[in-house]
Amino acid sequence: MERLSISKFWRIRKLHYTLAYSKCKKCGYAFYPPKHVCPKCGSSDLEQRTPPREGKLISWTKLYEVPFYFEDQKPIYIGLINLGEVNVMAQIVDVLSEDELREGAEMEMVFRRVKQDGTAGLIYYGMKFRPAHRSGSSKQGQ
C-alpha cells in the first residue's frame, strides 16, 4: 500500500480545509488548485481567496473503478461544482437519490475524511460536497 506524504499534505492543509484558490491580479484569471504563477498570463502577482461554502453543480459522474482508499465507498459520485469564480472537482456524498444531482442543483461543502494511511497512520481530512436543502432551515420542532 502506498504511503501518503505527511509533509506534502501539511503544507497545503488550508487548501484542503477551505478550497482556497488563486486569483491573478494582472489578468483576473481565477484558478483552483492555486499555483505560483498564473497559467493564463504567467504573472506571479496572485492573491489567495476563499470560495463561498455553497455552489452549483455543473456536471457529475458515478465511478465504479476507484482508488484503493475509496474501495469501501464505491460507487462514488464525483462532481464539478461552481463556487463563484472557480470550479472545483470533488466527491459528492449523502446523495439520497440521483434526482438531487440535476444541473444547477445547490451543493454545500462538508468536512470529511478523504484518505487514511492504513490503521496506524495519519487521517487526512478535507472538503467534499453534498446536496443542500437549506430552505426553511428555521422550521419548528420535530
Partner: protein
C-alpha cells in the same frame, strides 16, 4: 440569589449535526435475535449512523460551523476550543487542533480534547464559562461529538449512535441564551468504561441506572436548585442526558419536571444516544424553538461518573440567529434508512482485507 460569574456569559451561537443514515430497531433485533419490540422498550425508534468518511472530528466540525455562523463573529476571536468525545479518531493527537485549523481559529487559541464519557463536552462548556467570565478570553467554542461504539449484539447497540453539537460561549449581551448558574457533581463510580486497546466499552449492568445516572443527575440538579433558590416549577424546559428514551422522563419525574417539559428536548428516540452530543443536542433543539424568556434546565451526565446542572435563560436574540444555520429539525428530517449490513460496513464492523 447573589450575582454569579455565569451571568456575565451566554451562548452566542449554537449548532448541531446528525448524519443522514438511520438504522431501525427492527434491523438490530432481527440480526441478533432480540424479541420484537426490544428497541421500542428502550423508548427508541431509530438511530443515526455516521458514514464511512465521517468521525467525531468531522461531525464536530459541522456542528461548530453552524454554531459559529449563528454567533456572527470572526472565528479568529475564539480563544479556546474544547472538544469533548469518547470516540477520538486518534488516541494521541488532538482533534481540537484539526477543528481549530479548519474553522479558521488557529493559531492564537487554546485547544484540547476532553474525555469524561458522555459529559466531556459539558465540562468544556463549564470551563468556557470560567474563561470568558474572567475576561481571560473573549469567546470559547465547546463541542460534544461522538460516533459511539457498541459491541455488536450488546444491548448498547440499540442506542449508541452518531451526532454532534457545539456552542460559542461569549459575553451575555450578545447571547441567544444567558447562563444563570451552574453546578457540578462527580464521584468515582465504575458504571461504564473502555480500556485503552478495547474496541468496545463494557458496562457494570446494574450499576448504570441508580448509582450512576440517577444519583449524579439528581444531586447535580439539587445542588443547582439549592445554589439558586429556584424550584423545578420555575423552569419551562428540562434537558437531561439521554442514554435511551426512558431515563430522561424518569429522572425528570423524580425531580418534579413533568413530561411535557422534557419531551421537547428529548432527541434520543429519533437519533439514538449521541453520547457527548446527547443532552447538548437537546439544548440545541430548544434554542431552535424556545420563546425569549424561557428558562431551561440542562443536566448532562457522564459515566465514571458526573453530572453538571445549568440554568439557562433564552433571550430575544435567539429568534434572529435561528435562520443563520440549519436547525436540529432539518437534520432529523433529512434521513434515509439503511440495513444492518450497511451499518456494519459504515461503522467498520466488517472490513475488506487489503481495503483501506
Amino acid at each position: 440569589m447573589s450575582v454569579l460569574p455565569e451571568s456575565k456569559v451566554g451562548i452566542v451561537g449554537w449548532g448541531s449535526y446528525f448524519p443522514i443514515y438511520r438504522l431501525s430497531m427492527e434491523e438490530i433485533e432481527k440480526e441478533w435475535g432480540f424479541p420484537n419490540g426490544t428497541g421500542n422498550g428502550l423508548g427508541m425508534k431509530e438511530k443515526a449512523v455516521a458514514y464511512i468518511d465521517e468521525d467525531a472530528t468531522t461531525m464536530g466540525y459541522e456542528a461548530a460551523r453552524n454554531a459559529i455562523a449563528r454567533s456572527e463573529i470572526d472565528p479568529k476571536k475564539i480563544g479556546a476550543v474544547f472538544f469533548g468525545t469518547e470516540s477520538k479518531p486518534y488516541a494521541v493527537k488532538p482533534s481540537a487542533t484539526i477543528l481549530a485549523e479548519a474553522l479558521g481559529i488557529t493559531p492564537d487559541t487554546m485547544a484540547s480534547d476532553l474525555e469524561f464519557a458522555c459529559r466531556a463536552g459539558s465540562e468544556g462548556m463549564r470551563a468556557s464559562i470560567g474563561l470568558v467570565s474572567s475576561g481571560m478570553i473573549g469567546y470559547a467554542l465547546a463541542v460534544g461529538s461522538d460516533t459511539a461504539q457498541a459491541n455488536p449484539g450488546d444491548i448498547l447497540e440499540f442506542t449508541a449512535s452518531s451526532g454532534a453539537s457545539a456552542f460559542v460561549i461569549g459575553p451575555s449581551r450578545e447571547a441567544a441564551a444567558v447562563f444563570e448558574a451552574s453546578y457540578s457533581y462527580v464521584t468515582d463510580t465504575p458504571d461504564f468504561w473502555r480500556r485503552g486497546l478495547s474496541p468496545y466499552p463494557l458496562h457494570g449492568e446494574a450499576f448504570t441506572g441508580e448509582p450512576a445516572y440517577f444519583d449524579h443527575i439528581i444531586n447535580a440538579v439539587k445542588g443547582l436548585l439549592e445554589k439558586t433558590g429556584l424550584r423545578a416549577s420555575d423552569f419551562d424546559y428540562a434537558v437531561f442526558h439521554q442514554p435511551n428514551g426512558k431515563f430522561p422522563l424518569k429522572v425528570g419525574e423524580r425531580l418534579g419536571f413533568p413530561k411535557d417539559k422534557v419531551i421537547p428536548g428529548l432527541l434520543t428516540p429519533f437519533v439514538g444516544n449521541t453520547y457527548n452530543g446527547s443532552a447538548l443536542s437537546g439544548l440545541s433543539n430548544l434554542l431552535d424553538i424556545a420563546k425569549a424568556g424561557s428558562r431551561i434546565l440542562l443536566a448532562p451526565f457522564g459515566s465514571g461518573a458526573g453530572s453538571d446542572a445549568y440554568s439557562i435563560i433564552v433571550t430575544d436574540k435567539a429568534e434572529v440567529k435561528r435562520s443563520l444555520a440549519p436547525t436540529v429539525s432539518y437534520y432529523l428530517k433529512r434521513k434515509v434508512n439503511i440495513t444492518y449490513s450497511e451499518y456494519a460496513k459504515f461503522r467498520r464492523l466488517i472490513k475488506k482485507i487489503g481495503g483501506d
